[in-house]
């Protein structure tokens, strides 16, 4: 091949395209931050996609948060870059009140991410569901549970309603429930051994199992607190 100008240009072009075929200049985020929202070590159940946590990082020209969704079992996880983050649960999120952080003195939790990290966030829920037992059979689901009032005194809130939800998939709350049993908070004589029962209608297509959960709605609080999700046979 003649080594004229055109050919040299062509070869340079090929060389350049081959060398420029590397991927993104940036490495992907590597550090996983995960944990649960807990009370005295026990996770707090919530409804899917309803509660989220914000992570803010200083130093950027414009501020914007990384929003991390809290899963039904109270856990959260996010893949992040190394750095100093400020974690905050936005006001009015979650069936709980926040605890002031020792270091910052307010509800901002400083997170110094130098490697993958597990961090549980302690909060104070209004109530905790204890000793939940959910069972099913002959197209019925029944549940018994106790409620433990955690916040008493000036900030205490009443129970608006307790509910038993049964859904076809493991995403269980009032949006997906095919059989719901509610009882008003005013009807509860005492908070221990509350029993709820519901008949489950026919499932099309046939399904001999379902997922059930107990939910508590607290007056004046938009997010409900939930028990664990239990798979029951029908």
């Amino acid at each position: 091949m003649k080594l004229n100008f055109k050919n040299i240009l062509g070869m340079m072009g090929i060389a350049a395209s081959v060398m420029s075929c590397s991927y993104d200049n940036y490495d992907e985020p590597n550090f996983q931050l995960n944990g649960r929202i807990v009370y005295q070590g026990e996770p707090i159940g919530v409804s899917y996609n309803d509660v989220y946590i914000e992570l803010w990082e200083q130093g950027w020209q414009r501020l914007g948060s990384v929003n991390v969704a809290v899963d039904q079992d109270g856990s959260y996880s996010s893949l992040l870059f190394e750095g100093d983050y400020k974690m905050i649960i936005p006001n009015n999120q979650g069936p709980f009140q926040k605890i002031a952080n020792d270091q910052t003195g307010n509800d901002t939790i400083p997170v110094n991410l130098t490697g993958s990290m597990t961090m549980d966030i302690e909060v104070i829920p209004y109530y905790m569901i204890r000793n939940a037992e959910i069972s099913g059979g002959s197209n019925k689901v029944s549940a018994t549970f106790d409620l433990d009032q955690i916040i008493t005194g000036a900030n205490a809130k009443n129970i608006q309603e307790v509910s038993l939800y049964v859904s076809k998939t493991s995403f269980v709350d009032n949006r997906t429930s095919i059989a719901t049993s509610n009882r008003g908070g005013g009807d509860l004589e005492d908070l221990s051994s509350i029993a709820l029962e519901v008949d489950v209608p026919e499932r099309v297509p046939t399904q001999n199992y379902a997922y059930a959960r107990i939910g508590v709605r607290i007056e004046g609080v938009e997010d409900m607190i939930f028990s664990e999700i239990v798979k029951v046979d029908l």
Binding site: R62, L63, N92, N174, R175
Partner: protein, 622 residues
């Protein structure tokens, strides 16, 4: 040597060309300078016309798909099925932060005040109109966002490098309402009393006060039900103590409109359903309309009729029938004895009721039903619509087709016949009465309005006299003046065609909510009304339930749109052969229940806005 000649030529030309300074100082021929505009009344009017044109409508004839967001209608258009499939409304839905528009209004007002070259009369009127538009825009903002920064003059950046002096905090929610009310009081005498329906008038200013004060009063009053929907600085939420003051202001403004004598309820047609439809279509002798966005054939038209005309009667070869009013709305129209009832599809033992004529099931109801909705068996432009879902056999099976007007052979006969209407309903088939109904309100009856070349000139009514009466009824009710409330509400109901008036004792919150729902359906009131009563999160609560049995109940949960399928009964030899039966159903694309969260009451302020101005406080519950 050759090149030197060229050099000489170039130098010569350079000197020759650069002689005339004026050559470089030409006036642009495609832009009007400010001095030119402010010296000429017609030009000023054209700037004002543009400002009018930019008034936003959350739901309207030019963005009709928004009508399908709640429980009034099913969007029979595949591109809009998602509105019935979301589990929740985004926090940024219906948000607005249009300070570009506000700046343009402020600039107009500033320049208009100093415009000495147009007549005093015009200047005063233009100024009042611009202040009206600006108040409307702030009202649109506060409805959606709560308090916003109240900027009343055009701001200039001094290029000093520090823009923080331009950062204003949000005003309190009630301060924006107070501004709107005060502005209207200040300018109302500078506006003509009637004479135009597409420009601001004294009636329009009072109508805005009537509506804005009512909204503020409701938020103060019903906001007590949702204390979490508030901000400590007052940007969201109005103190309950201010409620009565706002209700009184609203009532006063409404009564002032009534006293003007310029407006009255449209009541020209003996057929009350037709009469109701014609409020929206009759532009010539209509004193009910106070302010509208007007259109003109061969001037400026819109395509609303092209999109919503019954499919079988369409004038273009495609589309039509995209807005199907829901059964939720249809069954809300009460019986003529002022009681509420679902549509009688089944008798007490659960057997279907057989009707001779398809319209019989809708008999004896509020004439506004047939004036708002095209039901099976009714006519449009003099021709009958063809809404039926198929043949129902004795064993309950259905013979139908997947195509509009499709044919099949019925058992016991040899040749195929039509087995489904040319208007549907057919499952998943868009652009037809997929849920069994078509919209009638606002759909143009004039020939050609369904054609792309012509379009429709039906106006978008922003304020009408009937709303003033309903505003007055509500304000009077909230102030405890039940006699007045009944009087005003009965005027609307009599015009609608009800023979029996309501007694003052019968006026309660359910009645107020219900009357607005059926009178003002598809007029961009539903979201704002449900928000200000704090009903939105209770009736659109995310729970999948059956259609309510109690259509008159303001708290009835209504999270999915339902439809009604008409069938022809086929059983040769039976006395019911050929009669009509109806079944309630949920259209197939509707598979999630609407969920309105507390964070939807006041829309999200974007990160961008808050980055530019750190003094802006976020809206709550998001």
């Amino acid at each position: 040597m050759k090149n030197l000649k060229y050099i000489y030529l170039v130098i010569f030309l350079a000197f020759a060309g650069c002689n005339d300074d004026k050559f470089l100082d030409r006036e642009p021929t495609d832009i009007l300078g400010e001095d030119q505009v402010w010296a000429n009344e017609d030009l000023v009017f054209s700037v004002l016309a543009d400002l009018y044109n930019r008034l936003p409508d959350y739901q309207g004839l030019e963005n009709w798909w928004e009508y399908a967001n709640f429980d009034e209608a099913f969007g029979s258009n595949a591109g809009d099925y998602w509105r019935h499939q979301n589990q929740e409304y985004g926090y940024d839905n219906w948000e607005m932060w249009d300070y570009t528009y506000i700046r343009d209004l402020n600039l107009f007002i500033e320049k208009c005040e100093g415009a000495t070259e147009i007549s005093e009369e015009s200047r005063t009127r233009f100024l009042a109109e611009a202040r009206f538009i600006r108040a409307m825009v702030y009202f649109e903002h506060v409805k959606r966002m709560g308090g916003v920064p109240l900027i009343l003059e055009p701001l200039e950046y001094d290029n000093s490098g520090d823009p923080s002096y331009l950062q204003y905090p949000r005003a309190k929610e009630h301060e924006v309402y107070d501004f709107v009310i005060a502005e209207m009081e200040a300018i109302k005498e500078n506006l003509p009393n009637g004479g135009t329906k597409s420009r601001a008038t004294k009636g329009a200013a009072l109508a805005l006060t009537s509506r804005a004060a009512l909204y503020a009063g409701s938020i103060a009053n019903y906001g007590q039900l949702t204390p979490e929907v508030s901000l400590p600085g007052g940007e969201v939420g109005i103190p309950a103590s201010m409620a009565d003051g706002y209700y009184a202001t609203s009532l006063e403004a409404s009564e002032e409109v009534m006293a003007l004598g310029t407006y009255e309820l449209y009541n020209q047609d003996p057929d009350k359903s037709e009469n109701f439809t014609n409020i929206f279509l009759n532009k010539s002798s209509n004193n009910e309309v106070i302010l509208a966005k007007d259109f003109l054939v061969q001037g400026r038209t819109h395509g609303f009729t092209i999109e919503t005309i019954p499919r079988s009667l369409r004038e273009e070869n495609t589309s039509g029938g995209k807005i199907n009013p829901s059964l939720n709305l249809v069954q809300s129209y009460e019986l003529l004895d002022n009681t509420f009832a679902e549509l009688p599809t089944k008798d007490a033992s659960g057997n279907p009721i057989y009707y001779d004529d398809p319209m019989d099931i809708f008999e004896g109801r509020d004439p506004r039903l047939l004036g708002t909705v095209i039901v099976p068996g009714s006519t449009f432009r003099g021709k009958e619509v063809d809404i039926w879902a198929g043949y129902k056999l004795e064993d309950g099976s259905v013979i139908t087709s997947g195509q509009l007007g499709g044919q099949a052979t019925l058992p016991g006969s040899n040749s195929p016949v039509q087995v489904v209407g040319f208007d549907g309903p057919i499952d998943q088939l868009e652009w037809s009465a997929q849920n069994g109904f078509y919209l009638r309100k606002y759909v143009d009856t004039s020939v050609g309005s369904g054609q792309r070349g012509t379009g429709s000139s039906v106006w978008l009514i922003r304020f009408r006299y009937s709303e003033i009466l309903l505003n007055a009824a509500e304000a009077a009710f909230e102030l405890g003046e039940l006699e007045k409330a009944a009087d005003y509400m009965n005027q609307v109901r009599r015009r609608a065609g009800f023979p029996i008036d309501l007694t003052p004792g019968e006026i309660d919150f359910d009645r107020i909510v219900h009357e607005r729902k059926v009178e003002l359906a598809f007029e961009n009131h539903i979201l704002w009304d449900k928000k200000r009563w704090r009903l939105a999160h209770r009736i659109w609560n995310g729970v999948t339930t059956n259609l309510t049995n109690n259509p008159g109940d303001a708290l009835a949960v209504s999270t999915r749109v339902f439809g009604l399928k008409p069938y022809k009964y086929y059983e040769p030899g039976s006395p019911n052969n050929g009669k009509w039966i109806y079944e309630e159903f949920v259209p197939a694309p509707v598979f999630n229940a609407h969920r309105f969260r507390l964070g939807n009451y006041y829309s999200q302020i974007t990160d961008d806005v808050r980055n530019n101005n750190p003094k802006i406080v976020r809206n709550p519950n998001q």
